[in-house]
């Protein structure tokens, strides 16, 4: 039986099955990205068919542009803060709802709900909540912390952290759901064996659960870091990059430089920097986490 099967020629599906996807992908992603890479070395303004090659000038200009440097820093800071806080809370929520509590199913559905809502909508909601007359200030006043009341998004030192707060509120449930899927794939007997051995809950988590959770951790870190780096909608709706440039990220600067200043060449050079950051982070993360995963399995 095995012998006949191995002699039978396998039918390989024809190459043209790839064609429709490849054409769409090339038209929307590949060709424009290649063109973008080229424009990054020109002074193109987006309209004029005549433009000239300027070499590395756009990138050199960036080093003299305090707004660009701050935007790069804000992008990295946002991505790191979101990754740590969102996944920390997401993990605690997941551990909380895998217990025997009676409300676990309701809580799971409720805590995940913000993740399906349009980010621009949640951002506008929070813009009001965090405003001078918003609910956050009312709540602080009601619990006797009236001295803390302020325009949360108008304070340049706090505005960036308010963006982190909004993202974490919306996507902690998403992290939770992925951790839950990871936790559910761990066989019950392993917990019970560890509990019988008399291991405390923290040691049990660190030595038993965490290694087995490695795939979920990988996915969650990937999603939140890359999502944090590319963040645009929420910043646009919450602060528009302000006050001043206190919350500008690479993405909001790309939008402003291209569509309000007409500096397409420079703006695309910023997008190239963004691409490089994403590539470095992905490569680094991939190598570190796949090593961990291999070590764990």
């Amino acid at each position: 039986m095995t012998a006949t099967r191995s002699r039978r020629p396998r039918v390989t599906p024809p190459w043209w099955f790839v064609a429709p996807a490849m054409l769409l992908f090339a038209f929307v992603v590949l060709v424009p990205s290649a063109r973008g890479l080229y424009y990054a070395f020109t002074d193109w303004d987006g309209l004029d068919p005549e433009f000239s090659f300027v070499g590395l000038r756009n990138f050199a200009d960036m080093l003299d542009d305090p707004n660009a440097l701050r935007a790069v820093w804000h992008t990295i800071l946002l991505a790191m803060a979101i990754t740590v806080i969102q996944n920390g809370i997401g993990l605690l929520l997941a551990l909380g709802v895998t217990t025997l509590i009676k409300t676990r199913n309701v809580l799971r559905v409720l805590l995940f709900a913000p993740a399906v809502v349009t980010p621009i909508v949640t951002a506008y909601l929070w813009r009001n909540l965090l405003g001078p007359d918003g609910a956050v200030n009312s709540l602080l006043g009601a619990v006797g912390l009236g001295s803390w009341e302020q325009d949360w998004l108008g304070n340049p030192r706090l505005a960036l952290w308010m963006i982190v707060l909004v993202i974490v509120w919306q996507f902690a449930g998403y992290s939770m759901v992925i951790f839950l899927a990871g936790l559910q794939s761990i066989p019950r007997e392993i917990y019970e064996a560890a509990a019988l051995d008399g291991t405390g809950p923290f040691r049990r988590f660190w030595y038993v659960v965490r290694p087995l959770l490695a795939p979920a951790i990988t996915i969650n870190l990937m999603l939140s870091i890359i999502g944090g780096i590319k963040l645009f909608d929420q910043v646009y709706a919450l602060t528009g990059g302000g006050p001043g440039h206190a919350t500008d990220t690479i993405s909001t600067l790309i939008y402003k430089d291209a569509f309000t200043l007409g500096e397409f060449g420079y703006s695309i050079a910023l997008a190239v920097v963004l691409t490089v950051i994403v590539a470095i982070v992905s490569a680094g993360q991939y190598s570190v986490l796949s090593r961990n995963e291999r070590a764990a399995s």
């Binding site: 992603v29 009676k102 805590l111 691409t275 590539a279």
Partner: protein, 273 residues
Amino acid sequence: MTRYTRRTFLLEMAMVAVAIVFAFPVYVLVNLALRAPSDTSSPIRPTAAPTLDNFTQAWQQAGLGGALINSVVVTTVSVLIVLAVSSLAAYPLARSTAHWSRGTFLLIMLGLLLPFQLASLPLYQTIRDLGLLGSVWSLVLFYSGLQVPFTTFLYVGFLRALPRDFEDAASIDGCSPLESFRFVVFPMLKPVTVTALVLNAVGVWNDFFTPLLYLSGSDHQTMPVAIAGFVGQYVSDWNLIFAALLISVVPVLAVYLALQRSIINGFAGGLKG
């Protein structure tokens, strides 16, 4: 922990408290949407005289009906196209070990890495030159290409773990490759199709940046663009804005609650992909 103990009860209380904190913004959203603009009492105090006026006004002035239809059309058509072309492409990419197949797969996976900001300005120019700005079909074209790498990635991962015996049997029975894909392979891909459907639909429905570029200033808007335009127009009329936000959230949450199991599994499903 196999019994409901006192500690379980304390944990339960803590978790419910956390859930209340998470739900607080939604309470304010509903509370203010039901409030007449003349009522300036604290936003956390329950509204004394609830009214539905904000909803009728927001619905009429924000053009949310048209935006809802546009969003449904764009999401449905682009997700169907993406699922069709990506699953079809994934089939030879997962099965063939030829050089062209590996090369093409790597090229498509490159798309996972490229942030769309890099392509968005040159593509904007192309869409403008083709006269497609202001048309929802420009968005269908955009998402149909943009979502190919991720969707193909999910399908290829799943297909590689799927035994080839069924399709071999189908070809012996005289099925063409397209027939064995359509009638034998594709039905077996159902779990990953559900994941891809959920993630793509939510992603396309919620996307804001590209519709903002392609549709701003036109009469054809998607939900997020219509909401942003409405907020820009009624800057401080928050009761009206909240009504519009709530209207835009209701269809999404209705679908979510109706299909919560599939949707949550869909989001978590990337884990196995």
